[in-house]
Structure formats: structure tokens, C-alpha cells
């Protein structure tokens, strides 16, 4: 699952961050702004449209839906990161120019988190599949949306269960990007809330994380 681009949309529907990770640049920055706010609108509409069966069953059936995302080990971390010591993490992170000793910022250990977690996005869009790409959306409790566009297409998916697994992988990845955001954007005194993100550290870390994906 190669990622083509990562977008971050603030709670009012504005695009605050966009990073293209492949070379084919077809849209200009204005188009991306429109894409982001359209996505924000479509998300709101989608959550208002619920199948009649779910509406009629009220709480008993809807509460049975499991929103737990399983923890998938070391998504977006160096392959060597799996069950190794601190030492190898230093060597793998030595390629970046940040000069930090700890590759996970304020997070300790070999991965950002190690438990399954609940998705906050319960009735909005979580995945959009097209013939050219697949889009994954992760929304936080504060209303921030993280969007990943991957090169995965229906034809490249052979296993029927693969689709749900890739949502889970995407949610794991996007929660880690949220961790990066909380570390490198929220703790930047020059960043003003809701405004476009211009942080070299964040950029660098995000690129590194996405390039670690298979």
C-alpha cells in the first residue's frame, strides 16, 4: 500500500496540510483546497445517511458494531524497528538531519502505541475506493481529519478481506501521523491554530514514516 499523498483538514473544513509523496502532480494547490472542503461536506452528508435497518434497530444493534481498530505492529516504522533494541533505532534514524536521539519524539518505546483502539469516526466516510486510488479518512475527537490517498485499487486487491485490513492499516498509520502532529505541530510556538502547517520537522518525520511503508 504505497501512499500518494497525505492531507490534513481542520475542523472548519480547511486544508491545513498537503504532502505529495509521488511525483505525478496533477492538481494545483487551489484544487486541493476545493477537494478538502468537498470531502468535509461529503463526510457530513454521509454521516446523515444511515441505512433504514440501522435506524429502526435503534441502540441495541448499533451498539453492537465494533469500532475497535486492532493494533498492527510497526506500521510506518523501520523494518528493523520490530523487536530490536534502542541501538538499531538510532542507526536507522541517523539518516535524518534532526539530530535527535529519540526517533519517536516525546513518545517512548519502540512504537507509538501498542494496544488496539476505538475509532472516533463512527458514521462518517472511512474509505473511498476508485479505479485509480483508495482514500482513507481518520477523524479525531477534536474534529481534525487526516486523509491518506494510496495507490491501492480494486483490481490490485485479490483477497476479499484485504479491504478491511487495509482500513485498519490506514487507521494505524493515520493515528501515528496524529501523534506526529501532536508532537511537532502542536508544540511549535510559531504555529497558529487552524492555519496551514509549515513545519520542517513534521514534514521530515511524516515523509520518513510513509517511506517506511511496504
Amino acid at each position: 500500500m504505497a501512499i500518494k499523498s497525505i492531507l490534513i483538514i481542520n475542523k472548519s473544513g480547511g486544508l491545513v496540510y498537503r504532502r505529495n509523496l509521488s511525483n505525478d502532480e496533477s492538481l494545483n494547490s487551489n484544487d486541493y483546497l476545493i477537494v478538502a472542503s468537498t470531502l468535509h461536506g461529503a463526510f457530513a452528508i454521509a454521516s446523515q445517511l444511515t441505512p433504514k435497518a440501522l435506524q429502526l434497530s435503534e441502540s441495541p444493534l448499533t451498539s453492537k458494531i465494533d469500532y475497535t481498530i486492532p493494533y498492527i505492529p510497526y506500521v510506518g516504522l523501520p523494518r528493523t524497528g520490530a523487536n530490536t533494541t534502542e541501538k538499531s533505532r538510532f542507526s536507522s534514524s541517523s539518516s535524518n538531519n534532526l539530530g535527535t536521539t529519540n526517533s519517536l519524539g516525546s513518545f517512548k518505546g519502540s512504537d507509538y502505541f501498542k494496544e488496539p483502539f476505538q475509532s472516533w469516526n463512527k458514521s462518517g466516510i472511512r474509505q473511498i475506493c476508485t479505479d485509480q486510488f483508495t482514500m482513507f479518512i481518520y477523524q479525531t475527537m477534536t474534529g481534525l481529519k487526516f486523509v491518506a490517498i494510496s495507490t491501492q485499487t480494486p483490481s490490485s486487491v485479490t483477497n476479499s478481506e484485504y479491504s478491511t485490513i487495509s482500513v485498519q492499516i490506514a487507521d494505524n498509520l493515520l493515528r501515528k501521523i496524529y501523534c506526529l502532529y501532536s508532537d511537532y505541530v502542536m508544540k511549535d510556538p510559531f504555529y497558529s491554530m487552524e492555519m496551514p502547517i509549515k513545519s520542517e520537522c513534521f514534514d521530515c518525520r511524516l515523509k520518513q514514516m510513509v517511506s517506511n511503508l511496504p
Binding site: T68, K108, E115, F117, Q118, T142, C179, S182, M193
Partner: protein, 197 residues
């Protein structure tokens, strides 16, 4: 593997979750460094405002608010806790997870109002006020750790809980205990992100 599903349940597992995140998932710094840094900020503010302590309180509150609206993202990214269904749950998350992760203390929750919308956090120990003794003129007016109120206010507002947060007593002022009051005004329903219900 089962720890996340139990996060939705009992308060005991909430405490365990908070402890685990503090212990294994969060980088540590020397606590004294933090205490002294805060001390230097407060003393600088007292100088800047020419010992007009109500102004210092306000400024600390504003600084706390600005910290809180950002810190909530760190907290949520770290814990990924689901939305709290009531203030009882909120109070537990604050005392057992939030204070534990960021300050390594667990305040006691007490003095519930009858409608269960207001509670007190009793800080048995307060790392901000270590090594501190208030000068005579500040004793009556300055809430030394007022930044905490601002942090709570800002962070709760970002998860759509409009609260009032203020200090009731402080051991630095000679009171028997340090107590922060949190009162829920209303849940900002319109602002809850779409797609969560």
C-alpha cells in the same frame, strides 16, 4: 490485547491505562527542571505586572488556556480514549490519565454537586509549587498554579465541554489542601464533530 476494550469500562482499568502510558509510552524529563521553569515564569510575570497579582492570575490562566487547546491533541493521540458519556467519567479521565501522564500525580475527585456537573480536584501534591513560598503581599491574591485551571479549561473546550475552572484553596496560601473546582456549563452539542454518534 484486552486492555483497550476494557478502557470503555471500569475506572480501575483507566488507572492502569494511565499508568502504563505514563510508564512505557511517554518520555520523561527531570521534574525539578519543570518546576523551576514554571517558577521563573511566574516570578517574571509578577515583575512585569508590577506585583498586580489579579493580572498575573489572568495571564497565567490565558497561558494555560493556550497550552490546553494544544495539549488535548497530545493527550488524545497518546490515549485514543473514547468520548466520555458523563462528567463522572470525565473526572476520572482527568485525574487518573491526564494528570498522571503529564504531571505524574493522581488528584482526588471529591465534592460532587447534586446534579453531578461540578466536582473538585484535590491535589495532594502539586509539582508546580515545589520549593515555593509566597511573599507576604502575594499571599492573599496570587493563585500560583493558576496555569492548571487554564489548561483544563482549554483542553475540555476542545472536546466540546464548556467548563468553568478555578482554584478554591491552595496550601501555599495557608489552606489545608489545594483544591481546583471544575463546573460544566454545557456540552457544546453543535460542535461535536460529525460522524461520531
Amino acid at each position: 490485547m484486552s486492555s483497550s476494550s476494557s478502557l470503555g469500562g471500569h475506572s480501575k482499568s483507566l488507572r492502569l491505562a494511565g499508568e502504563d502510558i505514563w510508564k512505557n509510552k511517554t518520555e520523561k524529563v527531570n521534574g525539578e527542571l519543570f518546576t523551576l521553569m514554571y517558577g521563573s515564569i511566574v516570578s517574571q510575570l509578577c515583575r512585569d505586572y508590577q506585583r498586580c497579582f489579579p493580572k498575573v492570575n489572568d495571564q497565567l490562566y490565558t497561558m494555560g488556556y493556550n497550552i490546553g487547546v494544544r495539549l488535548i491533541e497530545d493527550f488524545l493521540a497518546r490515549t485514543a480514549l473514547p468520548r466520555c458519556e458523563n462528567m463522572i467519567r470525565t473526572s476520572e479521565v482527568i485525574s487518573k490519565c491526564a494528570f498522571k501522564i503529564f504531571l505524574n500525580i493522581t488528584p482526588q475527585v471529591s465534592n460532587w454537586s447534586t446534579d453531578k456537573n461540578a466536582f473538585s480536584l484535590v491535589l495532594v501534591e502539586n509539582p508546580l509549587s515545589d520549593f515555593v513560598e509566597l511573599p507576604m503581599d502575594a499571599m492573599k491574591q496570587l493563585w500560583y498554579s493558576n496555569v492548571l485551571c487554564g489548561v483544563l479549561k482549554g483542553a475540555l473546550e476542545m472536546v466540546q465541554l464548556d467548563c468553568d475552572v478555578w482554584f478554591i484553596s491552595d496550601v501555599l496560601k495557608g489552606d489545608p489542601q489545594t483544591e481546583i473546582r471544575v463546573k460544566l456549563n454545557r456540552v457544546l452539542k453543535d460542535e461535536i464533530p460529525i460522524g461520531e454518534d
